[in-house]
């Protein structure tokens, strides 16, 4: 597809596998919730306590945070920072890169510790990396055409 960025898609099965992995992780580390966000700022999944904030805005800011930190990493001679930690008085966030495609964000409070979150996250990141790689490989192979034949419907939407 010779345009800008390629598109990617995930099925209900992908979503089920991602959610399952994240639920197990949350249970193991006792965090409040986690979100999976793609590198362009689109929310892929939310698991755990439903956040009280706007998850769409949160996803966008997460991707921007990660992108800005990647550039900071380069300035000091690193290729990237594969994880970030933001500490608050009551709530903290830990963000980790997954396969250079998506970002896993974990929000936790004083019911757990950073050490436990980090420890349990490593396995989850490996597991998610495999899942996400499969999703992206399939997306590239299937190519464009998701809305093939929907030209009339698109025209009607903008009348």
């Amino acid at each position: 597809m010779p345009v800008g960025a390629a598109s990617w898609s995930f099925t209900e099965d992908d979503f089920g596998a991602i959610t399952h992995s994240l639920q197990r992780f949350l249970h193991e580390c006792n965090a409040r919730c986690c979100l999976l966000v793609d590198r362009t700022g689109q929310l892929v999944a939310t698991v755990g306590e439903q956040p009280k904030f706007d998850p769409t805005a949160f996803a966008t800011l997460t991707a921007a945070d990660f992108s800005a930190n990647d550039q900071l990493a380069r300035l000091i001679g690193e290729t990237d920072f594969n994880s970030l930690f933001h500490q608050g008085e009551k709530e903290s966030m830990y963000l980790a890169d997954v396969a250079r495609r998506v970002i896993l964000v974990v929000i936790f409070d004083n019911r757990t510790t950073l050490g436990l979150v980090r420890l349990k996250m490593k396995h989850t990141v490996d597991e998610l990396s495999k899942l996400i790689e499969q999703v992206f490989q399939r997306g590239a192979a299937s190519g464009p055409g998701f809305l093939a034949g929907a030209d009339d419907e698109i025209d009607k939407l903008f009348q």
């Binding site: 345009v3 800008g4 960025a5 990617w8 089920g16 590198r39 362009t40 689109q42 809305l147 903008f158």
Partner: protein, 225 residues
């Protein structure tokens, strides 16, 4: 990079408003935010300086309707226009599906517009994206100002057209938004060129804002067809 979510039945696309500083990119988003029903839009996020200049980006998610049972969600972003914010400007372009170039019509801003357009081409090329092959529209903003340059001059400076190499596309394509004008045509020199669709606007009053948004969104969805 559009994302198709079969689980929540959503298509998510990213549109970036690009252009020189103080051209009206944020004003475009503010108008959309003010006019669209709160049920179909999210929060307007602005990462701005104390003087309301965009520091990193503005962001507004809007739903534009349903196609084939999928909700179409567009994420609208602006970039900071000032020259020295190029690092953050480039970050916002990552994964973009459609571009709106907001040009300031004032004759004094011609050079700044051209510089921003060149910067857009350069930044896109660094990501390996070809601007001429993706949804791209130009908005000539501030048409109400007395010092606005004629559209013909703006077109010559900012939208002269790119060469159409593919012979299969060598056919005159009328501009659906401007009677008597063409998007693809043959010049007297024999060369075939294509121009980006353009729109005149006065973003502060909202004139042309939705025409621009609809056009780029439609092009983005058609690129998935």
């Amino acid at each position: 990079m559009s994302m198709i979510n079969y689980a929540s039945r959503e298509i998510n696309c990213k549109i970036v408003y690009y252009g020189s500083g103080l051209g009206g990119k944020t004003t475009n988003l503010e108008h959309v935010y003010g006019k669209v029903s709160p049920d179909t839009r999210g929060k307007l996020i602005s990462l701005a300086t104390e003087t309301e200049r965009t520091l990193f980006f503005d962001f507004l998610p809007v739903d534009l309707g349903t196609i084939r049972g999928f909700k179409t969600r567009f994420h609208l972003y602006t970039v900071p226009g000032q020259v020295y914010y190029n690092a953050s400007r480039k970050l916002i372009l990552k994964g973009v599906d459609g571009i709106v170039f907001v040009a300031d019509s004032q004759i004094e801003r011609m050079e700044a517009n051209q510089e921003a357009m060149q910067n857009l081409y350069d930044n896109m090329a660094e990501y390996g994206y070809d601007l001429t092959k993706m949804p791209f529209v130009i908005q000539y903003n501030k048409r109400d100002l007395p010092n606005a340059a004629p559209v013909r001059e703006l077109q010559t400076a900012l939208n002269p057209g790119w060469e159409v190499v593919d012979a299969a596309k060598h056919r005159v394509t009328p501009d659906p938004w401007h009677a008597g004008e063409n998007l693809v045509e043959k010049l007297s020199s024999g060369e075939w060129i294509e121009r980006a669709p353009y729109f005149e606007a006065v973003a502060v009053s909202g004139e042309g804002v939705f025409d621009t948004l609809k056009a780029v969104s439609k092009l983005v969805l058609k690129s998935l067809a």
